[in-house]
Amino acid sequence: MSVEITMPQLSDTMEEGTVVKWLKKEGDKVKSGEVIAEVETDKATMEMESFESGTIEKIVVKEGEKAQVGKPIAILAGKSGGDSKPAPKQAEAKPTKAAAQGSGATNQPAAATAVAASHGEAYGEHSRGEHATHGTHATIAPREDGAHAPDHNGVRIKASPVARRIAATKGIDLAQVKGSGPEGRVIQRDVENFTPVAKPTAPQGGAIERAKPTAQPAQVLTTRIARGQKQVIPLTKIRSVIAQRLQQSKQNIPHFYEAIDIDVEDLSKLRERVNKNLEKTGVRISIADFVAKAVAMALLQHRDLNSTFDGKEITQHGDVNLGMAVALPSGLIVPVLRNIDQMGLAEIRVRSADLVERARAQRLKQDELSGATFTVSNLGTFGVREFSAIINPPEVGILAIAAAEKRAVVKGEQIVARSMMTVTLSCDHRVVDGATAADYLRTLKNLLEEPGLMLV
């Protein structure tokens, strides 16, 4: 009996998806729970697994082609293993893990997922029921390389959930870890005590023979494109969205930039005192948190900048929703901290850390990615001295925050070493004038150099 495998709805807004890669070809046997393809949506690339066991009879949608949600993308024939149970009418594929995009992850072998084939049909059925009840969000998670790696026979590796999580965080390939639990289950202590075996990943065919890495772990070596070779990378969905939107912004919005140096010496000391008091809570406030707070407080005073512009009307907002640019391997995204002006520093720290963490795990909800009234981009941790950012429309401003560093500063008649930080404000000149921007920066500078003013 044949069943259709249909394009799954992987997000609330998804209407169609592109089959990026088939991990199975026609005639291949598929087990329930096995990953069969990678599908790209408007947001991310996901792996999808089959709910049914059987043989791929026909691939309807080829690699690179699109299909509407619910439309068949492949036909699965019969059931393997002589199971006499009647097959359901339609097998819906289940999304599993969002693939890390553009990282070459697509070259990985098909990964079996949470449903162990050895558990048989009962658990396969159960897992589908769960999926239907809880919707797709619960099952979409970032692909954690190594966490689902099968061994070379395609058999699922037994590992405890926490061991998988640790392996994913540390980038350990579970296939290399010897499990000490029952039936070879990889458990927490196995992963924690694991030392990766170095293996050279130098490109093949390169003319230069490199010295063999000795004690260095393999991860340190960068994979290079061999001399005389080229590599063409098609744009992922997220990359092409970034490309399109930023080009649109820079072409349509007359940007102007104003930079200001801020003395954060006193603020740094205040921060240490605050953190000392917070020691027991485990929360550590960063300079960026103070800056975010000050940015929000300054926006309350300069609502010209806490605005959006649609080309016809300017909308000034009563809420301060701060977008925070986060760099991911797949590209830039901007989660939004809503009503940040009403938050204390600790709440800003906890909430922004949560947003960043979930952004990295691609677990943000749609409403956490929209509705910003102003954005900050912070490259301070990279040691950048100053930079300017492109406005994220329909917002009218964005603040580029560079690193705080010791600089020689003239104070009175003396040259002294002070912690200084340069921030650069980009504004939409259709809405904001130079003096307005300068006024805002002066307020921001005052708030950060005299943080007590934030209490006023």
């Binding site: 405890s160 959930p161 926490v162 999580r165 458990i187 927490q188």
Partner: protein, 328 residues
Amino acid sequence: MPTMQFRQALRDAMTEEMERDENVFLIGEEVAQYHGAYKVSEGMLEKFGPKRIIDTPISEAGFAGLGVGAACMGLRPIVEFMSWSFTWVCIDQIVNNAANVRYMSGGQYKVPIVFRGGNGIAHQLGATHSHRMESVYARIPGLIVVAPSTPADAKGLLKSSIRCDDPVVFLESEKMLNDTGEVPDDKDYTVPIGIANVEREGSDVTILSYGRPLSRVVRPAVEALTNDHNIDVELIDLRTLRPLDCKAILKSIQKTNRCVIVDEDWGYCGMGSGIMQKIQKPAFDYLDAPIEYVHSDEIPVPFNHYLEEAMMPSVEKIVDAVKEVTYR
């Protein structure tokens, strides 16, 4: 802080609350003239008189229903059952009436009532008098289920239960009434409902339990694990079974990555099974081993002392389960 028996802690809680609020009264079999089947209400008849300490016939359905009606009309009854096993005959009053009146009247009536008495296996009482009723009541929306394990918690939780505007199922044990412990004598001392007690902090495994098994087997097992097996246990006394303090449980499992539940219920559909249902999904990514559940064997509770002991959780069973989840 005075040291006292569990039964006195219960008595003090009731006495203090009856002094504080004239709407509180105690009703049940032999609570007045006989001073309670287990002497919990000793002296209370003399103190409060027969209008507030009321003896009843052997008719649980009658006096439980009377209590629900009195609560609807604004009084705050404490209904004592000689054993929770006997509530099978008045379960309609507790589950259908007490738990649902507030909801079904659209909030016009509230039911501030406490049902209390001995629960569980209390040594050679036989199959029909050894029921563990926690899972029967903890699954009912509208009820609160409390199960203290120390005299101090018994007093603090009973006072909170009497002050609570919703029906509370308060589970004691005949075998705990002689336990002694320090109990605050402050009249304002209460223990909040819905908050578990992390009795011992540890890093290797979380043990969840409540009520009598804690003193009977769990605390001795923790001692054995610490001394003989070098396993650092985090012990949580759940204290309230509905609403369950999932936050405290998850916080602990995130730290220890392993969990063993101990109760004297039967395993299938038992209290521990319900707790697992609440926690396995949010705890999943933190678990290093499946959650273990140490419970009683699925047989009617035997009268024979040795068989009764054998069917219940023991120190050895708990140690084995902990070794299983810690891979020792």
